[in-house]
């Protein structure tokens, strides 16, 4: 497989923020996005770091991928916080969760796409591709 087409070498690359508290899984997801899509990805292990980047550095990601079970604030709390700001409300969000019930609630109550863990990488990348259109 060829090296990443994303990042600074690709003028059409957009940025995806991945918030996942497991370091190895987060890095794996970032690598997969960068190798399989034209986009670049940044990994954060907690929601506050991602929130600070958006709020204070004015970084506007094209997609947010949020694990539900995060330390400090959950992925849903982070979503609600982001969604409450007009400038960020249009950003698509994908929730990933090991809890089937939670995924169902998220989909019903907030109309958010939710992918259940464990997921196949192919299914995950297909969802990312759909949300980036």
């Amino acid at each position: 497989m060829t090296a990443s087409p994303a990042g600074k070498d690709n003028p059409h690359a957009r940025t995806i923020l991945v918030v996942e508290d497991d370091e190895a899984i987060g890095e794996f997801i970032v690598q997969a996005i960068q190798q399989e899509t034209p986009h670049q990805a940044l990994h954060f292990t907690d929601g506050y770091k991602a929130w600070n980047l958006m709020q204070y550095r004015r970084v506007m990601p094209a997609l947010l991928i949020l694990d539900y079970n995060l330390p400090v604030i959950t992925g849903i709390e982070l979503y609600d916080r982001i969604h409450a700001q007009k400038e960020f409300e249009h950003i698509p969000v994908l929730i990933v969760s090991a809890y089937h019930k939670l995924c169902k609630e998220v989909a019903q109550e907030r109309n958010l796409p939710c992918l259940e863990k464990p997921f196949a990488l192919d299914d995950f990348l297909n969802m990312v591709e759909q949300l980036m259109v």
Binding site: M1, A24, F28, Q35, T37, P38, K117, P118, L121, E129
Partner: protein, 135 residues
């Protein structure tokens, strides 16, 4: 023409697959990770301990396991049995490496329909086996 250029693997619409590598020797693990990344179109997920492997499969569903026989406080065979007990992983094939004579472990490897390979690792043989199992 589309403004966004997708890499070749997405153009071909081939399924993207994950290989869970469990190896407690850091240099061999890094070597396997690099070889899989550079020489195949699959994605390696490297961990060094069985607990990390069990955690990894709660997040990502792998398509192949590559396990070292001797792991910290356990064996690759015991880990395979634990992984294999999970319903969604029952059909995932596995390659198991051992630095010992393969004959010593032949029975337990064959009973489980695993693919046993010897260390030092023959890279060409490993890559061919991976491709045969996943294509």
């Amino acid at each position: 023409m589309s403004a966004i250029e997708y890499p070749p693997s997405m153009d071909a619409a081939l399924p993207v697959k994950t290989i869970l590598v469990v190896e407690d020797d850091n240099s061999i693990g890094a070597f396997l990770e690099m070889a899989i990344s550079q020489e195949t179109r699959y994605h390696p997920l490297l961990v060094s301990r069985s607990e990390e492997a069990m955690n990894a499969v709660q997040n990502i569903r792998p398509d192949l396991f590559i396990l070292d026989y001797y792991l910290h406080r356990t064996t690759g065979i015991a880990l395979y049995d634990e992984l294999h007990r999970l319903p969604e992983l029952q059909d995932v094939p596995a390659i198991i490496f051992t630095a010992a004579n393969l004959e010593q472990h032949r029975q337990e490897i064959q009973q489980r329909h695993l693919i046993g390979m010897s260390k030092p690792i023959e890279l060409d043989e490993l890559l061919t086996t991976i491709k045969n199992l996943l294509e």
